[in-house]
């Protein structure tokens, strides 16, 4: 217990100091919204990574790897190739270049300036502000759950303390304070995860020996009985992919490709980071540390999650999911049982750092979405941007905390953390990705086609999330209140659709709508204001 108290106190003090430094160095609106556009590339890369990776990525997905095996490593491959290489080199450079040229501070502002549409900025800002709290509450719940489990403290008390701390950090320090704190959080996360993988492999006798032991595990005595249910779903061992087309296979592949793999490209809280460096050269340099950082986050979590089965079996005769009791408990139980005592306190801080860094970025994005994009730029309020943004951050954080408190009252068996995350990723991809790509790369794309794509993408994915996709519609409860069922296609000939992720339907339809509108309206003519980027787009 003493380790936990010392580590948490040290962590809180350092975070407060960093936030204060950010506050002292913030002189202008651009400092507050964009950290002055002169952030060091390594800080930018680590900040991007620390925002991308939340507690749920380590505990939730690590636990999933404990259950389903190392096939989840394909998500790490996508995270690095799409989430870092393509995101930084293809999207990042263009976003930074156009963002600087047009003097934009947020992703909705970049889209609206590029297409010369005030409505677009207000619509995008409002949509982000309304739905990001669901993602933020999932992140917040991830931290609170873990701290409550580890320290035995009350859920509601931890929730209030964490929300107040986050409010102080973000509202005081702005993006400069957040990015300094991110670098610190990222360093803690990196060191903790590096120790975890080295210790786990040495515990099991080396890399090859560990993998071989995991490969042999399904044939060990007593394991077959425990994996019966999983095998029926398509599971065929922790070091092989599940059988194609089975529920376990769909679960892994749709989470991979749909939610996190593609959704990452259109996240407002991530794309704003590209605008914080001063030239494309910094983004080249950021790629260097970005890839390694992500490898040590999800790559380590998935590998350790899967390998934990060997340790649990050797010690208790049970596989990880049986020994830990639940998916989300696999990583925490593994740490508690097999790693040194002092590491328990450190790992708690690692998870705090992962959660807080993501939460801070979300609170900042919610604040700029309502304060800057909707109230200041779209409705033209007279109050200054920083003041509006600070008030909006407070409102966004309070809504997120209330949602977290409510989700604490829901049935614990619902994977509310993973659902909240994939819901927001899917909504952003369908709403913003086609327009974002057009804004960056298609000079002749007309404003009305961009609006058609955004509005149809958001409307279709919201309809799908609230009424069709059983995983989300079931936990959002609105479908049940209106129609008395968890999905409107459940039990009908279209039942398969209730398992399909919203992004699989809404993103293609959003692209098609934009293309049809483009074909009808035709290219932007040189004289039209939407050609504001003729020199750059």
């Amino acid at each position: 217990m003493i380790y936990i108290i010392v580590s948490l106190s040290l962590y809180a003090v350092i975070m407060a100091v960093l936030s204060f430094i950010g506050y002292r160095k913030t002189k202008s609106t651009s400092d507050y919204l964009l950290a002055g556009r002169e952030i060091h590339p390594i800080i930018m890369a680590v900040s991007y990574g620390a925002t991308f990776i939340s507690t749920s990525a380590i505990v939730g997905f690590g636990g999933a790897a404990g259950q389903f095996g190392m096939g989840l490593l394909w998500l790490t491959v996508l995270n690095i190739l799409v989430g870092v290489l393509i995101a930084f080199i293809v999207f990042g450079k263009k976003t930074r270049e156009i963002g600087h040229k047009l003097g934009t501070n947020t992703m909705p502002e970049l889209l609206s300036q590029r297409f010369d549409s005030r409505f677009m900025q207000g619509y995008a800002g409002l949509l982000i502000f309304l739905f990001m709290p669901i993602y933020a509450s999932a992140v917040l719940k991830g931290i609170v759950d873990y701290v409550a489990k580890y320290t035995g403290a009350n859920f509601d008390v931890i929730l209030i303390v964490l929300s107040v701390l986050s409010a102080v950090f973000v509202i005081m320090g702005g993006l400069k304070g957040i990015m300094f704190a991110d670098a610190f959080n990222g360093a803690i996360m990196f060191a903790g995860m590096a120790f975890l993988i080295i210790y786990t492999y040495s515990l099991l006798g080396g890399v090859n020996e560990a993998h071989e032991a995991l490969t042999r595990l399904p044939d060990m005595s007593g394991v077959k009985e425990q994996t019966d249910g999983l095998v029926k779903g398509g599971f065929s061992g922790w070091t092989s992919m599940p059988k194609m087309g089975t529920p376990v296979w769909w679960n892994i592949v749709s989470t991979l490709v749909a939610g996190v793999g593609i959704g990452v490209l259109a996240q407002p809280q991530l794309s704003v980071k590209f605008m914080t460096v001063k030239s494309g050269r910094e983004l080249n340099r950021a790629v260097l540390s970005g890839g390694i950082f992500i490898l040590f986050m999800t790559g380590v979590a998935f590998t350790v999650g899967a390998l934990s089965n060997v340790s649990f079996y050797n010690e208790t005769g049970e596989i990880a999911i049986k020994a830990a009791g639940a998916n989300d408990a696999i990583i925490p139980s593994f740490i508690k049982m097999f790693l040194p005592d002092w590491f328990g306190g450190i790992f708690l801080v690692v998870l705090m750092a992962a959660g807080i860094s993501t939460l801070n970025a979300l609170v900042h994005s919610m604040g700029t979405a309502l304060g800057r994009d909707f109230l200041k730029q779209s409705l033209k309020l007279k109050t200054n941007t920083v003041k509006l943004t600070r008030i909006a951050m407070g409102i966004g954080l309070v809504i997120s905390a209330i949602l977290t408190w409510l989700s604490g009252k829901l049935d614990v068996s619902m994977a509310i953390i993973a659902i909240g995350t994939s819901l927001f990723y899917g909504l952003c991809a369908a709403t913003f990705l086609p327009t974002y790509i057009a804004a960056l790369f298609i000079k002749k794309f007309p404003k009305k086609a961009a609006l058609a794509s955004m509005i149809s993408g958001s409307a279709i994915s919201l309809f799908w999330l609230f009424f069709v996709q059983e995983k989300t519609a079931g936990s959002l409860q609105i479908c049940k209140m209106l129609f008395g069922t968890t999905s409107i296609v459940k039990g009908t000939a279209l039942n398969t659709f209730s398992m399909v992720d919203a992004i699989v339907i809404a993103l293609p339809l959003s692209v098609i709508t934009g293309m049809i509108a483009w074909a009808i309206i035709g290219n932007v003519r040189e004289s039209e204001p939407a050609g504001v980027l003729n020199s750059a787009g």
């Binding site: 290489l85 092989s240 992919m241 050269r281 260097l288 890839g291």
Partner: protein, 34 residues
């Protein structure tokens, strides 16, 4: 084969590390390019 008999898992393991190495090489090669 790193103790991973299934090719698709072996490939995911190698590509994860390979992807991170690729990022490092890209960063070094383009260190001063804009």
């Amino acid at each position: 084969m790193l103790g991973l008999p299934d090719v698709s898992i072996w490939l995911a393991y190698v590509l994860s590390i390979g992807g991170a190495v690729l990022c490092v090489i890209y960063g070094i090669v383009h260190w001063n390019k804009d």
